[in-house]
Symmetry: C2
Subunit: 146 residues, 2 copies
Amino acid sequence: MVSRNEHAIRSSCPLACALDIIGDHWSLLVIRDLLLMGKHEYKELLESDEGISSNILSDRLRKLQDSGLLDVIPHPESNKRKLYFLTAAGKDLIHVLLALGRWSAVHRSDAIFVPEEMRARMAKGPEAFGKEVLRELAAWEKEYGV
Amino acid sequence: MVSRNEHAIRSSCPLACALDIIGDHWSLLVIRDLLLMGKHEYKELLESDEGISSNILSDRLRKLQDSGLLDVIPHPESNKRKLYFLTAAGKDLIHVLLALGRWSAVHRSDAIFVPEEMRARMAKGPEAFGKEVLRELAAWEKEYGV
């Protein structure tokens, strides 16, 4: 169960409740990076193509942690570094990301670009791709003792 | 194909491209009302539980129209009124809304409330529910000559 974040709860509509947590321009891109791009460190998240600023990234990481979507552990190699990872609730947003990606593939095909490697992975279909992504995260979690 | 709206295009990632259009606190709630709640007039959209302000509603309707997600026709009963309706690209966001609703049902069950009538409709499963919603919109479009 995720807790409330600092946005006011606008209604008890399931869609409004989800958007109170992830309905902004950046949160789902941070979740994308943790879920699909193999990123786990602040520096990696800061380097994404969309050019998120450091203060927005810090803010969103804190809000997503407050809402129970991600958590953080010290990096085993350096106590100056941290490792960010998604909780079960965060990882379960994969279905929302896949639905958004499918919509863009149909309705924004002129604007999007999917790298060959990612396209090959997604060619297996959204369900198989989603399961593969979650298996990879489970392997990472095992390695880092999450 | 939807056109670019006034947000800067941040990257060619399919998820970022979708979020450039609908990644804010309000756009998907306006789409929800047009898609699932049988709303078609400005006054109806203004009366939703979340208390959207008139200036935000006007702004989002214009942006969604500019992005090719909705369109508007004069009301057949009064030339002072307008009827808003989703385009094919707008209606195709139903899969995103269903994924968000499913996520909330699992991870925000303490905060959400789904009215009995809606719950009964959704009990048929997301695919059957989605098809029913689109059939109802098609009947409305036929009636109003959209």
